[in-house]
């Protein structure tokens, strides 16, 4: 297990390093930031001064080495727009994003998992069909459409909730519900098929045959086994807490990471985009490692062999 974890950590570091490299080269090869920040008709002297100030006049590989060196020292550069450290700019937005993604995540768990389990236990019932119909809709309706429909109903028609902004406590409700519904649909679908798979296994029949109550069979034998595949998708959802709300934040003018990303991308603010990419990668990688550890805890077979879960 320890050897396995060390390997995982090494791969995680490699992934993050790849992301830094990818971000650096994509962003630097794609255009001249000096031209994007200054206007196209800026005098040549100021373009030159800008390049010198940001180190853009040096060869690309030196810029890259300097970037990695500084990144290792916790310095990821300053925003080219307002000159403040990019890391600070991004971290300021994290609480706002978490304020909607964490409640939405809980909403997904609270609705999605019970709905999936219920549907699996009552296969082919009306409730099962209804759950599945709703969840099919949940992943074919894009989040921006869902968001706008909710705004249309609850803000425009009924006037109950604010349509955008973050100035009132009720402002967070629509973004949370939008994110939560879509995720709950996916989770319900996934939990249901994991449950059905487990319920079809011989050990479930054996447990019933030896006279256990159905309730005990479900709680003691089916649920723990179905939890294993469900952990994967839940772990992935944890990984998207930081950047899973790009579209929804934009619709509701919510001042989080997602909106910062969209505005930095249209302003071509290299440093800020790089920091966000890195933050997202780090979150995803961490979530994956946590999932692997949880796997080992849930599935004793993996503890000994040190083999991968999937």
């Amino acid at each position: 297990m320890l050897r396995y974890l060390t390997g995982r950590l090494l791969r995680a570091v490699l992934t993050i390093f790849l992301v830094i490299t990818f971000a650096f080269f994509v962003l630097h090869l794609s255009g001249d930031p000096a031209m994007m920040i200054l206007s196209a008709d800026a005098p040549p002297e100021s373009v030159k001064a800008f390049r010198a100030a940001w180190g853009l006049d040096r060869p690309l590989w030196i810029q890259y080495l300097a970037y990695v060196w500084n990144a290792l020292h916790g310095d990821l550069g300053n925003s080219m727009r307002d000159g403040r450290p990019a890391v600070q700019l991004v971290l300021e937005r994290v609480p706002a994003t978490l304020a909607i993604t964490v409640p939405a995540f809980l909403l997904k768990l609270v609705i999605g998992i019970p709905a999936g389990i219920y549907a699996a236990l009552h296969r082919n019932s009306a409730a099962d069909r209804l759950t599945m119909m709703v969840s099919v809709a949940g992943f074919t309706v894009p989040s921006f459409v869902l968001a706008l429909v909710l705004v249309l109903v609850f803000s425009v028609q009924l006037g109950w909730l604010p349509s955008a902004g973050s100035d009132r406590p009720t402002s967070a409700i629509l973004p949370i519900v939008t994110l939560g519904i879509a995720g709950a649909a996916i989770l319900a679908r996934f939990t249901r098929s994991a449950m059905l798979e487990v319920l079809g296994q011989p050990y479930i029949r054996a447990a019933s045959a030896k006279g256990l109550q159905w309730r005990t069979v479900v709680v003691r034998h089916a649920l723990p086994n179905a939890a294993i595949p469900t952990t994967t998708i839940v772990g992935f959802m944890v990984g998207t807490l930081i950047a899973g709300a790009v579209v929804v934040e934009s619709v509701f003018a919510w001042p989080g990471i997602g909106r910062l990303l969209v505005s930095s991308v249209s302003n071509r603010d290299l440093a800020v985009v790089q920091v966000i990419l890195l933050l997202v990668a780090a979150t995803m990688v961490t979530a994956n490692i946590v999932v692997d550890v949880v796997y080992g805890w849930l599935d004793p077979r993996l503890r000994r062999g040190g083999a991968r879960g999937r």
Binding site: R11, L18, A23, T140, L148, L152, V247
Partner: protein, 284 residues
Amino acid sequence: MDVKGGVRRFFEASPPLTLLALAWIAFMVIVAFGADFLAPYSFTALDLRARLHPPVFMGGKWAHALGSDELGRDVLSRLVMSIRLSLLIAFFGTMIAAAFGTAMGFVAAHFRGKVEAVILMLIDFQASMPFLIIALAVLAFFGNNLVLFVMLMGLNSWERYARIARGLTLSANEQGYAAAVRQLGASNLRVYGLHVLPNIASTLIVSMTITFPETILLESGLSFLGLGVQPPLTSLGNMVGYGREYLTRAPWIMLSPAAVIVLSTLSISIVGDWLRDRLDPTLR
């Protein structure tokens, strides 16, 4: 992730649904091909005397059957053009992903060793990052160019094909037929193109029905954010993004493209499920 099991059961419960889905897809394809003939006006034509006219079903006139927008542009004409562009982008995106991904899968399975390790690492990397974030970074920094945008859509799901093609090719190489043709002196290109590919094609085709709607959703999401298809071109996501500004006064601008997106992705999912049952019973 078995996101399609429910669609399948849904279909088994009511088979006419597949026919409806097929009919909708056929309708969309006809609209896309006939866009020039079907659009009553030019999609950029302004009619300042007919601004924000409601559609027929909300008490408007037939002159603008689906209403008009702030500049008096006909929503129906814009919708028809948007359907064409969105379907084209999704189609080429899916094709690129399938071709590139399958090729990578073949390469990984053929060379094994280091080549395979690198490809597997790329697959893991792609699967571990939300593609919307990668796409946002790449797109805005390379500028907005339709060709690049389509290529980017093609990068979206290549790893799914690569993984499937690699796995299936490894097992095909174990089987007699690939070894037999190789013994007969066939080149690698011939073995993979003419013998392995037809044997694994059904699984790949089923994957396309999963990635096609994903590509539509990705394209419309980016265009909605204003970072995808750029004006004067118009796509379904653009229309929804534009319509959002007029949500209170003119919801019809946003509702018709939104409905087309939902109906199309839903239809393709339903048909994909049906195809999966026909072509590839092992995927159930």
